[in-house]
Subunit: 259 residues, 5 copies
């Protein structure tokens, strides 16, 4: 479970409702089925028009990953690649073949398979980089679906409010209904601004960030595997991968021995 | 028929009108010919000033493709290119000549013609890439026409509302007409904000996305055909094109045999 | 005469005034010299502060080209360049010298002069590309002047409205003047939002687009002339330039013969 | 004196005040020390938080150049460089040494010194380009300080207005004070929107543009000096630099002789 | 202590409160626990949903550096690197080994270690540049957390105001409470707009700028150390690094002797 997603949603909505209650407002007065119909109907409709069906579905299915914890252990991954570089240097790249079965990460396995198969380094680089980019581009469309929802919701909320105000204005001669009518109209704004800022836009940002981190992880694998293919010194590779893992540099003595 | 475009428009407008009706509003009160005249006249006029005639017409004609289903079968296309790579490797590129007639896709035919004609690889790449870019740039202007409409509509809607309010304010001494006048003025806002967010901006986004997918398809063809010209191993080509089609990697055994 | 510019302005302003008249508003009530003074004085002043004098003047003089039709015949230009390529291939580049006089386009003449003079290809490319870029950058500043006007006008309009409202509020005790005062204040908003969205921003967009098309035309000339210098096959050149002209590909037979 | 800066500020503020006076408003009613305290105090404070002290001071000192005329004579500069190219070609680069003393422009002197000293062309290019970029980046931060002020001022103005309205609302029971209170609150908006749009944002735009023109001038010097080092034909250099100066091409005859 | 951060915050908030007090407002009337609960609860919640936990924590810890003075002595650093270049040129790169211990800057030490260890120049460049970029990217996420807070706060503030207005509207029949209710509702706007513009957005800008300056410092080190590895003339290196330190050029005589 992604703790910030869940705690953020509960905290934001809970504190806002709590504040509202403390000021003496009834939660009931901001629960209105018709306002929800207008705002979410209009927002979802506009987003559907904006995207092909495949992208829209991708947006919906991708949402799950905003709620699930994604552990990315770059340090462990880096260590494993350095170990493989050691094996390859000592016993040749073919010695890696037996290790492929133990790998759970399909991208790492696929990348190492290129090395074991002796595919040309340029082809390996081009293919892996194109795969990483294409996968990112394909998924990031799903995040853009939520960004789009976050863009449409407030304006559709205003649309709902204006529609409500038109209704109020036409009945202006009965002042006792004025306040209630305006209150009802404003609920559409609350739904639009609230759903965009507390849900849709934050979802989009988190999904993008997670896709970005996954992309970085695959770039680390690509760089590491290409270095193995070059037959790089494992200690130099370790130093090189440290840029991606963000670890602190080891003391100078260690570095010296590695060289 | 593009299902999300049609369902999105019907759903969005339908649910908003339904919500409005449920709250007791009359649909008639938001149907006003003069507000439509002001908002759509002003929006279309501003957009016409913004674009040369050719671009404006391109925007209108391109709209059709937001409503029609575009099936892009990258997997099938990739398979066909891999097959052609096999033919070229076995029997030489001239053997592809007889196959050109069966191709329905004009861009694929044009690209393969370069290979059959033995045109220099750099000229082939430059020409195909320039053609793909130029076609995209030329069409994307049509999407920008709708984006422009979506940018002008809300501000022209506000312009209409302010004009209406001026009219109301000048007759402020007759309070019985006040509400109705303001209601009328607000309809211009509804038209501007509604048409921009439920129609124009979603159209622009969908058109851009479809043009982007078509561009990707042509880039896949370009890469594939250039690989055929290089005489690449069809299985390596298959692996390479997989980046574009987004298919899952086959099991490691298959990959190994291919190498 | 640029038909979309003229028709767009007349249409937009005409339909808005028509709508206003149909609703019973007097055109006279939105004609106010003081509001115009505030909005246009402030907008022009802010734009003057934003740009050096030379850029500001460039913006004013460039406006003419938003109103004049610019015929760009890329197909004819491409045909002429292909013909020159044929001459150069058959009789050598010096044979082009006699043709220079008949050229009306100064950029094409200048570019071909490099070829005739036997200037090094890299120098030719660098010089022509730098000239195309520099001319575009220099002119596009003029479009940015209008963009700037379109950015300042609505905010200065709001400034004018707020100033008017302050005046109204100070005289709140005389309610008979309230409505008229507010109406007067709103006129500044109408001028600001209207001039920005119906004139300034559309002008900027059209100017940029026209400058972009002119730049593309010069890039076509540059590519064509450099190809002539390389001694390219005229039919391959024709195929290459087709990317810029956006023409459909000829049937496969024609292509084959050309190769 | 930069004429557009001075005339623009005087014109904008003058015409707005004139318009205000013509509508019967008192200039006195928009002069309020407390509103100024809130808007400018808040804006300057927010900008100080946004930038390190050095950048903030750079913004203040840079402002002077928005008010002073900067004559950039690219044609004369280009002519001088072409002349130096002639000297270098005829008598060798060392012959330029005696001319260095007469140069007033420190960057041109520094660049030519590299040539005279026989520094490697790549080192010369890297060093000069890095110096041009670094100087631009360092100065453009000063323009961003004003851009930041222009971004904060309207929102702080709204903050001031809302604070004023809160004060008004708390005393709603005394309607005679209502109008005056609202008027006072609105003055903060006038200060915020006005200072941003008539001063801060235009300052930022002009400063950026002037820095950009100065950068272009130094790029022209860099290109020119590197061409001298290459021993380029002075007439070809003249043609090449014409891209930067934006001059019209000379008649074809002149060009021909030059080659 | 970062003087502009502290003085900016105190100045902005102090002057705004002073202005408010001078106009006769009570500071107490803008102190409302429930409004704070809604605005900051909602803003922090939305930001938590937007970022993975690690990034959110990074944002919080990074804030400290907006308040602490960061002395970056590029001139001194440049001098030291030039001195090392002299040592390396005279006595070989191994002579630098003894000096590594005296270096306090871990990045400079790490970079020089590569030179001393005789690591290949391309590997050195790739590794150091990747490390500089990765560190910047990792930290800049922390600045984006504050930018995000600055984006959400005003909209959540408006949400709070609308919720308050709904409450007011439902009790419209008791006019004596109207003003106070609206005033209360507006406080949420004050909190949202104020915190975003006086704190969150300025924090984000300052953090980004400081990270950018630190990145530049490391790029200077990278360039300097790579130049040492190339065995560059220390005086040419001094000239080259001057681009980064922004110092004025020394008089021509000095330059000449250096060459």
């Amino acid at each position: 479970m992604d703790i910030t997603t869940v705690a953020g949603i509960i905290g934001a909505i809970g504190l806002i409702l709590l504040g509202q209650a403390l000021e003496g407002g009834h939660v009931g007065s901001i629960l209105q089925a018709t306002a929800a119909l207008i705002v979410f109907g209009g927002t979802i409709g506009a987003t559907m028009v904006s995207f092909p069906r495949k992208d829209f579905v991708k947006g919906l299915t991708l949402l799950k990953s905003a709620f699930t914890e994604t552990k990315i252990d770059l340090a462990g991954l880096s260590k494993q690649i350095v170990e493989f570089a050691g094996v390859a240097r000592r016993d040749g790249v073919l010695a890696l073949e037996g290790r492929l079965g133990e790998l759970k990460d399909p991208f790492l396995r696929r990348a190492l398979q290129f090395v074991v198969d002796g595919v040309d380094a340029n082809v390996t680089r081009d293919t892996l980089e194109a795969a990483v980019d294409a996968e990112y581009e394909e998924n990031v469309v799903g995040a853009k679906v939520w960004e789009s929802m976050g863009g449409f919701a407030p304006t559709v909320g205003i649309l709902g409010a204006v529609l409500g105000l038109i209704h109020v204005m036409e009945n202006l001669n009965d002042p006792t209904k004025l306040g209630g009518g305006i209150a009802t109209a404003f609920v559409a704004t609350v739904y639009g601004v609230g759903s965009a800022n507390l849900l849709f836009l934050p979802f989009a940002t988190k999904l993008k960030r997670k896709l970005g981190l996954e992309k970085e992880r695959k770039i680390l694998i690509t760089e590491g595997v290409l270095s193995i293919q070059e037959g790089i010194n494992p200690r130099v590779l370790e130093e090189r991968l440290r840029a991606y893992t963000g670890e602190e540099a080891p003391p100078a003595e260690t570095q010296k021995k590695a060289a």
